[in-house]
């Protein structure tokens, strides 16, 4: 390393602050320019990567009447076509957890879904090459059954939902019969779809506010079998290798697209033919079926008639039978009555005979009974006789026994007397014993006499008894004979009775038999009568039935005839319809017609536009920083330069030293700046846009565009080198001798201000220094003013942008839009239905100012401009409507006249179409995918109104009817209701259940989605504020640094003079503060322009940014600039403090 280079390295090391200042401003300039320029391309690269990774279609063939299955291979065979994925889809209004969306339901091959895999959130692998628009599952799982769906994982606003919630289809853009088999889907997953990359607006539809807000992918079997494939997604061979949206890509795909465009007519015709054929076949089948059915019906009628006639005949038969039966019964009865009277006569005779017989028998019996009675009267005697006789016999026996005993006693007594007389005889007469024997003999004598009496009595008693017994026995015999006589009589009587009874029983039996016979005959007759009666009832009923049968038959007949007529009419109509089928419209759409893809490109191009202009300010400041810094460096080294010059170094060599110094600094800065900001800026901005677009981030590091990098680095380094050259050349022109001397300090000069004597006198010396200094170093003044102005302008742009963005919502909702609820009814809704909905709304949720309007999604264009979607509103009553929408001029804030003959467009729309009041424009109806139809209707604009969100046409009804022949259906209700969510839920639910009501929408949902969308642009504010701060620091640091270094001596002198620290700060910083103030003031002016440029460039479709920067933003930007300055000053105080008086004053520099 030679001394020259050594000295260069040393000078870098010793003046690191200066080196860093140059490097930093170049880093900021190059980085900002390069980074911002690369952001747009990076966003497009990320998109291309996503589209390739998910096999996004290159061409979409859309048919208004679908495709025949046979057309798919035909399409696939077109040259350049790589794969074709047919899909069924339809647009519907759906409801998820109470919020209503316009959504597109599309079929997706679920087999392919299951087998696909995605690991990096961008590339989806599948064996199925014809699986296009591949989905990336975010949450949940893929649908695998009927009635399951995945919906967008990216929708920015709306009611939260969970897996398992229901998506209810409310109604479709077409009659859903024959389209969808399922109208309630379970959300089983959420997914990202490259064909719907914009999460805010997913495309145009005829439903809702005209844009698709949600998509649902379902398996094909959720659609009716008969519903054809409505769109064919096509990938073009080799297109994935090209950059999506590039000219090469467009040209490559364009070739295939042209093929399809030239093929579209034949496709349409063959589709028409096959549709007609299909319909004709169906109709013919129907006709055949009709004929069969007709024959059947007629046959059935005939059968029925026959049946009825049969029934009538049967009834007649029945009647005859009944009459016969009745006659029989009647004769049966007369026979019965004869039998009965005969029987009665017979009975009488028999009874008489029997009674006579009976009387005889009874007479006999009575006689017997009398005899018996006589007998019976003696019976007790007779009966007691045996006993009595036995008693008598006993008595006799006893008496006999007594007699014998008495006779025995006589013998004994005679023996005793003999003995005693013998004994007495022997005994002397004077012996005592004699007296005794004599007494005994007297006793015995006496007893002999008693016993003799007894024997007498007994003998007499026996005789008597024997007589009694004999008499008794005779009586008994007599009695018994009488009894026998009676008994015989009785036996004879009994026989008589028996005979009688036999005869009577026989007679009775005979009679009973006869009676039984009669009564059974009678029963038979009764039964027969009942039978007959029943039959009669049957017949009566049968008659009735027959009558109603005949009536029914007549009705049926009439009905059948009518049906036949109707069917024939229907068939004829169907035939007419088939004959009338129009050629289907086939649209060949490439990616530029995909809303998401195209708006992403448009947004990225907006950044390109900003990037081309915006960083200019940094380059300008970089040039000035380099110029002042290098000038200062050259000045500081003037005697070194002189020395080199004196030593014989060439000018070029010496200049080279500074060029190399500046070159190294700027290259280092450019490399660092580009390396950092080419990542940070695209990353940050892409992240911001990720809120709107679901395109996955490009993995870091972001792609580096070398061409842009070199351009930006070259600009940065080039500007620095030029400035350095300019600074060095001025000094090098001086002679070495002059260079060796200290440069004469730049002389003080009087400034203009001093000419104003009275004013100047009141200015303190330090202010004088300040003022003079400001004008002494013009380069520095310029650098500082421009740098600070840039900083303030950036801040103002940032905050202004923030204002503009949030003004969209703040100025739209409230100042312009006063309604918050819109209830749409069917266009065909009846007056009653509308009134009912209106009445309910008026009664609920504090709804006020309800008014009816006609609303429709239409297209407008003006000369030289393409059609734009517009929401048309024709109020039924402009005065009422004025309470809900403030139609005013933005600049004057004056209300516009709005009556039935007015035609008002919103400002952004009018600006885009280049329309002024009094110009005319064309209003078109649109088809389902948002193409203008027909020649349109011409209207003359009467007013342009302030409006920020959406493109609207407010047209008075007279103006509308006089310029168009379209029908007016005042079937949309605008109103203002409560903010209370529960009340609203009730309102929505109730309205939903009402006939004719299609949707109920609240502004809040719109506001929410805009808030989300706009917050992405808000990220740019952060970028701007950060870069403004960086710019301010670099400029101020550099300025202050130079200022202090250059004035070390002066500052040291002041210190020596006894200036306090504070006074020294004030002395130096006053100048910077003043410059900051001037710069900030300029910056505010510059910022207004910059902000409006960025605003207009960054503005997205359908949205007009607020056009005012708020006062607070001016204040904030100004104050922030001053704060940055204050911060730098705070930082620089140390440098001031460290100035050493002794060192500084030692010698001349």
């Amino acid at each position: 390393m030679d001394a020259f280079r050594t000295s260069l390295v040393r000078s870098i090391r010793e003046s690191l602050g200066r080196f860093i200042a140059i490097a930093a401003i170049v880093a900021l300039g190059c980085g900002f320019y390069g980074g911002l320029r690369m952001t747009g391309p990076d966003m497009r690269i990320a998109a291309d990567r996503f589209y390739d990774g998910t096999h996004l279609y290159d061409i979409r063939l859309l048919s208004t009447m679908g495709y025949s299955d046979s057309q798919i291979p035909e399409v696939a065979a077109v040259e350049g076509v790589k794969a074709v994925m047919p899909a069924k889809s339809t647009d519907v209004m759906g409801d998820i957890n109470g919020e209503q969306y316009a959504l597109r339901i599309s079929s997706i091959p679920i087999d392919a879904l299951d087998k696909s895999s995605c690991e990096d959130g961008c590339n989806v692998y599948s064996d199925d090459d014809s699986y296009l628009n591949r989905l990336i599952l975010e949450e949940g799982r893929w649908p695998n059954a009927k009635g399951e769906c995945v919906i967008s994982a990216d929708r920015v606003a709306g009611v939260p939902f969970e897996m398992g919630d229901t998506l209810e289809v409310l109604y479709g853009s077409q009659d859903l019969d024959g389209v969808l088999d399922v109208e309630e889907f379970t959300i089983v997953g959420t997914a990202h779809s490259s064909s719907f990359v914009s999460a805010v607006t997913m495309g145009a539809t005829s439903l809702g506010s005209g844009s698709i807000q949600q998509f649902a992918f379902v398996s094909e079997n959720n659609f009716s079998n008969d519903y054809p494939y409505t769109e064919l997604f096509i990938s073009v061979e080799g297109a994935a290798d090209l950059f999506s949206g590039s000219d090469e890509y467009k040209e490559h795909v364009g070739q295939v697209r042209n093929r399809f465009e030239s093929m579209a007519d034949s496709l349409a015709e063959s589709r028409l033919a096959s549709l007609k054929q299909e319909a004709q076949d169906e109709l013919d089948d129907a006709k055949e079926e009709y004929e069969t059915e007709k024959a059947d019906a007629l046959q059935k009628l005939d059968d029925a008639k026959k049946e009825l006639d049969d029934a009538a005949a049967e009834i007649d038969d029945g009647v005859a039978k009944i009459e016969d039966g009745q006659a029989q019964i009647n004769s049966g009865y007369s026979q019965l009555y004869d039998g009965q009277s005969e029987l009665n006569t017979q009975k009488e005779r028999v009874y008489n005979e029997l009674s006579a017989a009976r009387a005889t028998l009874e007479e006999k019996e009575r006689e017997l009974n009398d005899a018996q009675a006589q007998l019976d009267a003696n019976r007790s005697q007779v009966d007691s006789w045996p006993d009595t006789r036995a008693g008598l016999v006993e008595q006799l026996n006893q008496t006999q026994a007594g007699l014998e005993e008495a006779q025995q006693g006589m013998a004994d007594i005679d023996a005793g007397i003999a003995q005693t007389e013998a004994a007495l005889a022997q005994v002397p007469e004077d012996d005592p014993k004699r007296a005794q024997l004599e007494a005994e003999l007297a006793g015995l004598q006496q007893r002999k006499m008693a016993v003799q009496a007894q024997i007498g009595d007994a003998t007499q008693g026996i005789a008597q008894l024997e007589a009694v017994i004999a008499t008794g026995d005779e009586s008994l015999a007599q009695f018994q004979a009488s009894q026998a006589q009676v008994d015989e009589g009785r036996a004879q009587l009994q026989a008589g009775w028996d005979e009688y009874n036999r005869q009577a029983a026989a007679a009775y039996t005979q009679i009973a038999n006869a009676e039984n016979e009669l009564s059974s005959n009678q029963q038979k007759l009764i039964d027969s009568q009942a039978e007959i009666n029943e039959s009669q009832a049957d017949i009566d009923k049968g008659r009735e039935e027959l009558a109603s049968g005949r009536e029914e038959y007549d009705e049926e007949y009439a009905k059948a005839m009518k049906e036949i007529d109707d069917a024939e009419q229907e068939l004829a109509d169907a035939q007419q319809e088939i004959d009338d089928i129009e050629l289907p419209e086939i649209y060949v759409l490439d990616r530029t017609k995909n809303y998401g893809v195209e708006s992403q490109v448009a947004d990225s191009e907006r950044i390109d536009n900003i990037a081309r202009v915006f960083p200019f300010i940094f380059f300008l400041v970089a040039a000035l920083v380099a110029l002042t810094t290098m000038t200062r460096m050259v000045d500081e080294e003037r005697n070194v330069i002189g020395t080199y010059k004196a030593l014989g170094y060439s000018k070029a060599r010496i200049t080279g030293r500074y060029l190399i110094y500046a070159g190294i600094a700027s290259v280092v800065g450019a490399v660092i700046g580009l390396a950092l900001l080419s990542q940070i800026l695209p990353f940050t901005i892409s992240k911001a846009y990720a809120i709107i677009y679901n395109i996955p981030d490009y993995p870091l590091p972001m792609p580096f565009d070398w061409k842009l990098g070199l351009l930006s680095g070259g600009l940065g380094v080039g500007i620095t080198l030029l400035a350095t050259l300019a600074a060095a050349m001025a000094t090098l022109r001086e002679t070495p001798a002059a260079l060796m001397l200290p440069r004469a300090p730049k002389a003080g000069k009087r400034i203009l201000l001093e000419r104003i004597g009275p004013l100047w006198k009141h200015v303190s010396f330090s202010w004088k220094v300040t003022f003079r200094n400001l004008f002494r170093y013009k380069k520095r003044l310029l650098m500082t003013v421009i740098g600070i102005a840039g900083c303030t302008a950036l801040l103002l742009t940032g905050w202004g942008l923030h204002d503009s963005i949030w003004d969209i919502i703040d100025k739209q909702y409230g100042p312009v839009v006063n309604y918050n609820v819109i209830t749409k009814l069917d266009d065909e809704a009846s007056e009653e239905e509308i009134t009912a909905a209106e009445a309910y709304m008026a009664s609920h949720a504090d709804t006020e100012d309800l008014t009816r309007v006609h609303s429709a999604n239409m297209q407008v264009s003006s000369v030289g401009h393409n059609e734009l979607g517009v929401e048309l509103v024709v109020p039924s009553n402009t005065d009422e409507f004025a309470k809900l929408l403030t139609i005013k001029n933005r600049l004057t804030q004056k209300l516009l006249d709005f009556d039935d003959s007015s035609v008002v467009l919103t400002e952004k729309l009018a600006t885009t179409l280049d329309l002024k009041v009094g110009d005319s424009f064309t209003l078109y109806e649109q088809d389902e995918i948002g193409n203008a139809l027909g020649k349109g209707y011409e209207l003359t604009l009467t007013g342009i109104m302030e409006n920020y969100i959406g493109n609207w046409a407010y047209i008075g009804k007279d103006a509308f009817t006089s310029s168009t022949n379209l029908p007016l259906n005042f079937a949309t209700l605008y109103g203002r209701c409560t903010e209370d969510l529960d009340e609203r839920a009730v309102l929505t639910d109730t309205l939903h259940d009402m006939e004719g009501v299609r949707t109920v929408t609240y502004n809040d949902e719109t506001i929410d989605s805009y808030r989300k969308m706009l917050s992405s642009v808000d990220m740019i504010v952060v970028v701007l504020v950060v870069s403004a701060a960086a710019l301010a620091f670099i400029v101020l640091y550099n300025l202050t640094n130079i200022n202090i270094t250059e004035r070390r001596r002066e500052i040291a002198s002041l210190k020596v003079l006894g200036f306090t620290k504070r006074e020294v700060y004030a002395y130096i910083f006053r100048e910077i503060t003043l410059l900051t103030l001037i710069g900030a003031a300029f910056g505010l002016v510059l910022g207004v322009f910059l902000e409006s440029f960025v605003c207009v460039t960054a503005e997205v479709d359908y949205v007009m940014f607020g056009r005012d920067i708020h006062t607070t933003s001016f204040v904030i930007s100004f104050v922030m600039t001053l704060l940055f300055t204050a911060f730098v000053m705070l930082f620089m105080r140390h440098k001031l403090n460290s100035i050493d008086m002794v060192e500084s004053l030692k010698s001349v520099e």
Partner: protein, 233 residues
């Protein structure tokens, strides 16, 4: 007690590992109203002494007293105040603020002290009343040095410290400046300390302090100083 006293004052600079004593045990004193010349060869430490006395540098050790106040113990703020009120400095290279006129340069000083001279009077005193509205760049070296002296005097300092005030001037101008300083001392009784390497100046001083290798090698008083006009070098 003397007006100014230096007692064992040392000033040591540390350069890497080497300690160099610029002032190494300085002892001297001087009285109010004296015209003092500090003389010595280059590098003897005289400027350091002046700087320490003027409060723009501090001693490593030792005591400095001025009019009874111990300057060596002053804090930074007190030193600032001290410079502001008590000291007037005149440098070899004038150190005027280029962006202020002569008058304004004087005002710069007079505005910050309590009882300053009228700035115009100060300029007239140095004979520059006519040039008061000129910028330094429009003045010659001598004139600039006179403005510097006027600026120093305008503060009415207790001490006027001059560091080689004639070093950048030609002979005649240098003499005129010396005379101006001498007059200002004699006429207003202000104490003036002048540093020079020029031995010729010693004859005009009331007191001469010889400095050698950081010490006062000798201090002599001159009972009959001559006028500056009479000396030659």
């Amino acid at each position: 007690m003397s007006f100014v006293e230096f007692k064992d004052v040392r000033k040591v600079y540390t350069m890497g590992e080497v300690e160099v004593a610029a002032v190494d045990g300085m002892n001297f004193s001087l009285e109010q109203g004296e015209f003092v010349v500090v003389v010595g060869p280059s590098g003897a430490g005289k400027t350091t002494v002046l700087n320490i006395l003027g409060g723009i540098d501090t001693a490593t050790s030792g005591t400095i007293l001025l009019d009874g106040s111990e300057i060596s113990s002053y804090s930074e703020q007190e030193l600032t105040q001290y410079r502001r009120a008590d000291i007037g400095f005149v440098f070899q290279f004038y150190n005027l603020v280029q962006n202020l006129t002569a008058l304004e340069n004087v005002e710069l000083a007079s505005q910050i002290c309590e009882n300053p001279m009228d700035p115009l009077d100060a300029l007239e005193a140095v004979g520059l009343g006519e040039r008061s509205n000129n910028f330094p760049g429009q003045l010659s070296g001598g004139e600039q040095q006179r403005v510097a002296i006027a600026r120093a005097l305008a503060k009415n300092p207790k001490l006027l410290l001059c560091d080689e005030p004639t070093g950048a001037l030609d002979y005649q101008t240098g003499k005129a400046i010396l005379r101006l300083l001498q007059n200002s001392c004699k006429e207003t009784g202000r104490t003036v300390v002048l540093i020079t390497h020029n031995q010729a100046f010693t004859s005009i001083a009331d007191r001469v302090i010889h400095i050698r290798e950081g010490r006062a090698s000798s201090v002599e008083t001159n009972a009959h100083p001559v006028s500056a006009e009479t000396i030659e070098w």
